[in-house]
Amino acid sequence: MTKRFVICGWCLLVLILGSLSPAISKTIRVQPGVGKLVEAVKAAAANDTLLLLPGVYKEQDVFIGKKLTILGQQFPVIDGGKKGHVIVIAADSVTVDGLQVEHSGRSSLEDYAGIRIQNARFATVRNNKLFYNTYGVYLQNASFCNVEGNEIKSDSKSELTSGNGIHAWKCHDLMVRSNSITGHRDGIYFEFVMKSHIIKNISKKNVRYGLHFMFSNNDSYSENHFENNGAGVAVMYSKQVIMINNVFRYNWGDAAYAILLKEISDSRIEHNLFQKNTVGLYMESTTNIAVMRNQFIDNGWAIKVMASCSGSDFMQNNFISNSFDVATNGTMMLNKFSRNYWDKYDGYDLDRNGIGDVPYYPVSLYAVLTEQIPTAMILYRSFLTNVMDQVEKVMPSITPDMLKDDEPRMKKWKL
């Protein structure tokens, strides 16, 4: 019965839309050539659809100041000729779908982009290929926009001068979803962006960060993959950021962190996988962060938490084959570690409740030493170091005794 209703409803909807749309909008087919897109945009009326036929369009600063839908057939190439922006969206409800946008300009004062969205709402940039632009998609003063399914890449030759893959500045309510970004400075960059979501993106081999947050509150990022980026992911000077189900891998280097947190408060880091990073989680001046149910596997340091951090809970995480589990630079510890699984724990569980009977001290002697004298690392894994570590375990003298897990779990969490 209900099924019939639904079908009837759909028929009605199709009928209504079918009868209305020809009257208010038309579809214009555009042939490739030099400046053909600019002409077509000028000639079109609001609500029209431009269908770009396959080929090469040599264009610069295609300014879209009215509500248009631009669709590409088999990825027509919009070539900016390394001058200026390629496409500029400056009206509400514009859709750009299925184009290959390449070669924006490059300048030190102006941030030239493949697709720039400025002072606009409800824009959709979907399924495009953005190749060799300084900035891929650049959102300025935009809201309720959707950046989805784009393939964004840049060449690594011009590393230092290249811009970000998806760059958002002073925006709110954005959805950045299922994009793949490689070879830019920062894969995704948020500055003064509120209430936005970053979901299921793949950000690899970017020069600096896979994802970079600055002064952006009430945002979330989940189910993203960040791999092989110059310095991992940085979340700085922000509040209420939710980071769930992400994968951080292969961020190797002297100053590389899977996540760098600086001056972050009231945020959650849950169900993430940190694998083979120099430092998994680096925290400085953070307050009230919940780090729960994450996996830290094969990292140099799983967590570096500076003495300036307070009020954070590290609970129910798995720490497996990291060189160092936790390092810190002071003796004060205003954070809580509880019910984590540590593979280096060698205590016992006499009452068989699954929780070790003696506390685990995750900061090893050598973690303290190398924090003060980084070059001491050269002696790591020497016989003497092992002896010192064992002695320190029996008679703790320089490791911070406040940093401990009173309820270490005997078995791995299934995460």
């Binding site: 030190s108 230092l160 600096r208 600086k262």
Partner: protein, 142 residues
């Protein structure tokens, strides 16, 4: 014998030269800012502090250097403070106290400091109109 003496004295002179504190080149894309921990990428806003022991601290934004000096309560006079020349970021760095600084929202520096340095007043004035800048100096920075 004479040669050996000459050689050893030369060695001493060379070694003394090596100990002289001074500017250390920044490895862009590798070095981290001592204040905000970000990787230093933009040559135009890079800056460096060398303390009296000769230890160099590198920054990605002039404002990071200022914040660092304030945070650590360092006295300016003991330090060497270098900033990149905005117009020629690849050439040698400038002494921040002698450089001509300009503030403009159009300078998109990594930490939103919006400050760039120029080697001469003419250079600064030439760009002032274009970027709607305001002149400033090291002591004035917050």
């Amino acid at each position: 014998m004479k040669n050996a003496l000459l050689f050893s004295s030369l060695l001493v002179v060379l070694l003394m030269g090596a100990c002289k504190p001074g500017f250390q080149p920044i490895d862009y894309g590798k070095d981290n800012c001592a204040h905000c921990k970000m990787t230093i990428m933009e040559k135009q806003y890079a800056s460096e502090l060398v303390d009296k022991k000769g230890k160099a601290f590198k920054f990605d934004d002039i404002v990071c250097m200022k914040d660092y000096v304030k945070e650590k309560n360092l006295t300016d006079d003991d330090l060497m403070l270098f900033v990149a020349n905005y117009k020629e970021p690849d050439s040698s760095f400038l002494d921040v106290r002698k450089a001509f600084l300009m503030y403009s929202e159009n300078f998109k520096s990594p930490m939103n400091g919006h400050v760039a340095a120029f080697s001469s007043e003419e250079q600064a004035t030439a760009i002032q109109q274009q970027i709607k800048g305001r002149k400033t100096d090291w002591n004035e920075l917050k």
